[in-house]
């Protein structure tokens, strides 16, 4: 087991900068998500850590040992591929045994380790099957068992759950997390699914256009995004743009929005504020908003989407559509077209310096 350090790694393919000076520390035993839209460089970064490709510049270390020029087969990593990449000509047990067998481990050891790995992923009885006789979820487990049986220093997962249907994916998320805790291996997984990143990982790194946008625990990124991109890519956010006042921003129409979290931006500079839809209180003119909600705006409901446990209101305000999520408490629901007051606390407002 070992931590992974990526320092100032850049990689270009022709004129395209796939990775641009990326530095990120993966602590020993952590569960990390690399999150980003397609083309953001997250898979390129994973392949650099795996050793399928080498950086143009920068340093990669696994367990303190520089590996940026070490080929994948010598890095002692475990990897799970998006489409599982199980060897079709081998049984499940032979697939799992492959890594031990190419190392020349004795047969008895291999058999024991393979059984233990298969038991860990709850496929103890399916060793004799061929991959094409398994379901998607089972193949996923075999791929995982194959990757961890060699006791790699780090486990790399490339969109491991992308090919599974929703229900199975949630099962596998829990399962993956359990296995990772059980063996305590440093795990880095690539995903474009923000929910997956939020629920599974200890830390998230958000990438965009080959650059690391923000890195930290899910709660921190969600509550204090440092850029509009981070705010809108991880979860939903209402963004207001204006000029910094020192304690918030002033919108072009003169309305001020107070913000007590986020960056400190000198007064007069361009800045924006992000507010999560579930932090906004929505009320008709008659009801009094919470006194702590210093920020208020008037608007009109343009659309309501009922989703059972909550409702999403789209509120038009001066040409901007704001999103508000209200838990279903049984309270009166607002009709489309109704004038409303939106209010929220400065504590829920994140100030972001303009890019």
């Amino acid at each position: 087991m070992a931590g992974v350090q990526v320092a100032n790694v850049s990689r270009s393919f022709g004129a395209h900068k796939a990775l641009d000076d990326v530095s990120i520390d993966f602590a020993d035993g952590g569960f990390y998500a690399l999150l980003g839209p397609s083309g953001s460089g997250k898979t390129t970064l994973l392949r650099q850590i795996a050793g399928f490709d080498f950086p143009d510049s920068g340093r990669i270390a696994i367990g303190g040992e520089s590996v940026e020029r070490v080929p994948v087969e010598k890095r002692r990593i475990g990897m799970v591929f998006q489409n599982y990449a199980l060897f079709p000509n081998m049984s499940v047990a032979d697939n799992v045994a492959f890594g031990l067998s190419v190392r020349g481990e004795p047969k008895a050891t291999i058999a024991m380790e393979v059984q233990r790995a298969l038991d860990l992923v709850q496929l103890g009885k399916l060793g004799a099957r061929k991959p094409h006789q398994l379901s998607g979820g089972q193949r996923q487990r075999v791929a995982l068992a194959r990757a961890i049986v060699t006791k790699p220093r780090v486990l790399l997962l490339d969109e491991p759950l992308g090919a599974l249907d929703k229900a199975l994916r949630v099962d596998m998320q829990i399962e993956l997390k359990r296995i990772q805790r059980e063996i305590g291996i440093t795990t880095i997984f690539v995903t474009h699914d923000q929910e997956e990143a939020l629920t599974m990982s200890d830390r998230i790194g958000i990438l965009r256009d080959g650059r690391l946008v923000q890195e930290g625990p899910p709660e921190e990124i969600y509550d204090r995004p440092q850029s509009e991109f981070a705010a809108t890519f991880l979860g939903d956010a209402n963004i207001f743009r204006g000029d910094a006042t020192g304690s918030g921003i002033k919108l072009p129409d003169g309305t001020t929005i107070a913000a007590s979290t986020g960056a400190s931006v000198p007064a007069g500079a361009k800045a924006s504020c992000a507010v999560r839809p579930e932090r906004i209180q929505i009320s008709t003119g008659a009801a009094k908003p919470d006194p702590a909600n210093a920020n208020t705006l008037k608007g009109q409901v343009s659309k309501r989407i009922f989703a059972g446990n909550n409702s999403t209101y789209f509120v038009d305000r001066d040409g901007q559509t704001l999103k508000v999520i209200v838990q279903n408490t049984g309270a009166e629901r607002l009709a489309e077209g109704e004038p409303v007051v939106l209010s929220w606390s400065p504590d829920s407002t994140v100030l972001i310096a303009a890019a």
Binding site: A50, F52, P71, V72, E73, K74, R76, I77, G78, M79, F81, Q82, N83, A85, L86, F87, P88, N89, F98, G99, V102, R103, H132, R146, A147, T150
Partner: protein
Amino acid sequence: MATTRILEGLGRFYIVLLLGFLYLPIIIMAAMSFNASPFYQLPFEWTTDWYASLWQNDQLIAATWNSIEIAIITTLISTVLGSMASLALYRYEFRGKKVLQALLFPPIAIPWLITGTAMLIFFFGVGIGRGLVAILLGHVALALPYVIVVVSARLQTFAPELEEAARSLGANQWQVTMRVTLPWIMPGVIAGGLFAFAVSFDQFVVSYFLSTPGQTTLPVEIYAAIRKGFTPEINAVSTIIIVVSMALMLLTARFFKFGGEK
């Protein structure tokens, strides 16, 4: 309804005609190898004399062995070299790769008569001359493009992540090739090998140019024998070859389930 039945009938008739056209000459030849009359005369009189006299025909037997040896060696060399070339073309990007790939196809299209002439001139030029070695070299050169085309086609269906997965598990290039890639492309390699065998064993034109009276292959020897005067021994040797090669083909097809399974 009546029309479909007529069409079905016509279809059946067509298949019978096709099979008849393909196999009737062969069946007649096989039958005549057991007929006592050397001039294809009926009534049919059963005999195995021709097979007995074939056994005495040293020239024909020597040529048969030459053909078998050359075909087997050609198959081995061109299958190994061709599969390796296909893997290289699949895995690596290198200068001149496109040109190399483009140069693979013309030899298949160039008439063997021309290839044969060119080889004869070339082998004389470099001092190899005619004979079994020249025939072997010629056959390998003819068979190689077929193997590469067939194996490359199979490689197109290979998922490159499989090699990456094997490498991530610590396998070196040799282990990756032998344990992951080769098993997958094996049906292609076998099919390529069969092509190579057929190209060599059936080869007349190129062999004709490169053989000498003592060092010759079966097709060339049969041709020479027919020119001297036809004997049912030729029927006998042809029948043996057909039976053996059909048995081999059927066996291979059974063992390797071409295109079937995955």
